[in-house]
């Protein structure tokens, strides 16, 4: 465990020095929250809704940092380390690939956690957003959505040939999910046919679950999305470790 925490400490510092993720995983979600706050304030989600639009969108805004970290940050950092032959240096040490992946994964888990806390504080203080469901259920769905999104990134980073390839795959995954899964554009404002289509994106499952647990409403079963996300996490993590490329 000592090696894990020493590596995590330094990798976290390096990542913060780089500033990219501070901007995209912590500041950007706050900006999106502020824009929504200015536009919708305390308005109800729809006429006669028992919750506000902001409350309905809170889960989605939390997912911005997951997308930034899991689909841009994590795969690029691992692919970059491979290209710069940093992984090659680790290869001639006793380090296990799972150790390195776990460290980089944890860096982005921390970003997501910081983002969740800052968003909750800002939304609660400025727009009186309050959780209406169970906090534990919401945290559980947040954790699951985060881990499944990050595990996709870990798989991309773990097996991509170089950072260029990782960048292309990351963009293909990142932008559609960011725009269409309801992270930036609420699913509710999309046309019906489009809502149907985006429900197939893996992140949409987690977003719906986060929304329902936050609002404390029963949104057509939790078992299916939980199983889907657990499956994605297990498969992606397993493949990333199994097919890890040092060079």
């Amino acid at each position: 465990m000592k090696r894990f925490f020493v590596l995590l400490k330094h990798e976290m510092k390096l990542n913060i020095r780089d500033m990219n993720m501070v901007i995209f995983a912590v500041l950007m979600p706050l900006v999106i929250l502020a824009v929504l706050g200015v536009l919708y304030g305390g308005k109800p989600a729809y006429d006669g809704a028992p919750f506000t639009f902001m409350e309905q969108s809170f889960g989605a805004v939390c997912a911005v940092s997951m997308c930034a970290g899991g689909l841009m940050g994590l795969p690029l950092v691992i692919a970059d380390y491979r290209e710069r032959k940093i992984l090659k240096r680790f290869r001639v040490t006793p380090a296990h690939p799972a150790l390195l992946l776990a460290v980089e994964l944890s860096v982005y888990v921390l970003y997501c956690a910081v983002s969740l806390v800052t968003l909750a504080l800002a939304a609660g203080l400025l727009w009186r957003v309050h959780i209406r469901g169970s906090a534990w259920a919401f945290l559980g769905s947040w954790l699951l959505t985060m881990l499944s999104t990050l595990s996709i990134g870990m798989l991309v980073g773990g097996v991509a040939k170089n950072s260029k390839q990782a960048g292309v795959i990351a963009s293909i995954l990142y932008f559609p999910m960011l725009v269409f899964s309801g992270t930036t554009l609420p699913v509710e404002v999309m046309p019906r046919a489009m809502q149907k289509a985006v429900s197939w994106l893996p992140l949409t499952q987690g977003m719906t679950l986060m929304k329902n647990t936050f609002l404390g409403q029963d949104g057509g079963g939790t078992l299916a999305p939980v199983l889907v996300m657990l499956g994605v996490t297990a498969i992606c993590t397993g493949l990333a470790v199994r097919f890890f490329r040092w060079e």
């Binding site: 000592k2 330094h10 510092k13 390096l14 380390y81 240096r89 001639v92 040490t93 006793p94 060079e247």
Partner: protein
């Protein structure tokens, strides 16, 4: 004296080009072995195939009695490596790189003492990229010694160092050898090879053209300086 490295029939081809042609090497524990050869002769490929970072097409490698690919994690607890092109995280500082390396081993050496010994003790808080070429080279030797290894690989160990720094690196390596460290190095500097190596192997296009002590090489060619012997041995091949 036991064998630290045993290489048998090591062969590697890139496409149709044979870069290593049935190479045999044997290095005794506690000695310094030098692998010589022109650029592109196959020195780095030899090291990479021995370490398992490149897959050889044929032959067997045994390091400290273990298989570098099968016993990777146990073996690299006891082996230090300095690659020719050492790279590092963009913004990392010297002490951070040392700590990231040291934490991977069960009983690492004190990196502060090693850095001081190699004359970069006052650079711990500097970023690695701000170091001069020579300082960075010494840092990568420090990283290879952090495991407190029984066997260390140094690929072009003193390239980029000034005369004084080279001498001090030699001195340190001699001290470590006296403590029982086995050293496998490559170098283009014949004075260095003469000063450090107990045995050498000269590579030419992936084949060993000479194996033995520095004295053997000089005697075989009737030369006083190793550099002349080296040039003669590689030239002779060319004429054939």
């Amino acid at each position: 004296m036991s064998e630290a490295i045993s290489v048998c029939g090591l062969t590697k081809t890139y496409g149709s080009r044979m870069v290593l042609d049935h190479l045999d090497l044997s290095v005794k524990s506690g000695t310094v072995f030098g692998l010589l050869g022109a650029n592109g002769a196959g020195k780095s490929t030899t090291i990479e195939c021995m370490l398992g970072t490149k897959q050889a097409d044929g032959g067997t490698v045994s390091l400290l009695g273990q298989d570098p690919r099968r016993d990777r994690r146990a073996l690299f607890e006891r082996i230090g490596v300095q690659f020719q092109e050492g790279d590092y995280q963009q913004e990392i500082k010297v002490f951070e790189l040392c700590e990231e390396t040291a934490c991977l081993y069960k009983s690492p050496a004190d990196y502060r003492a090693l850095c001081a010994r190699f004359g970069i003790g006052d650079k711990l808080k500097n970023t690695v990229k701000s170091l001069s070429g020579g300082e960075r080279q010494r840092l990568f030797i420090v990283l290879a010694l952090i495991p407190s290894p029984e066997l260390v690989f140094l690929d072009e160990l003193t390239t980029g160092l000034d005369a004084r720094a080279r001498r001090s690196v030699w001195k340190t390596l001699e001290d470590l050898k006296a403590q029982g460290l086995t050293i496998f190095l490559t170098s283009h500097f014949m004075d260095e090879v003469e000063a450090l190596c107990d045995e050498i192997c000269m590579l030419k296009q992936g084949r060993a053209v000479f194996r033995g002590t520095v004295e053997d090489a000089k005697r075989a060619c009737g030369c006083e300086r190793l550099e002349d012997a080296y040039l003669m041995l590689s030239d002779e091949e060319e004429r054939e």
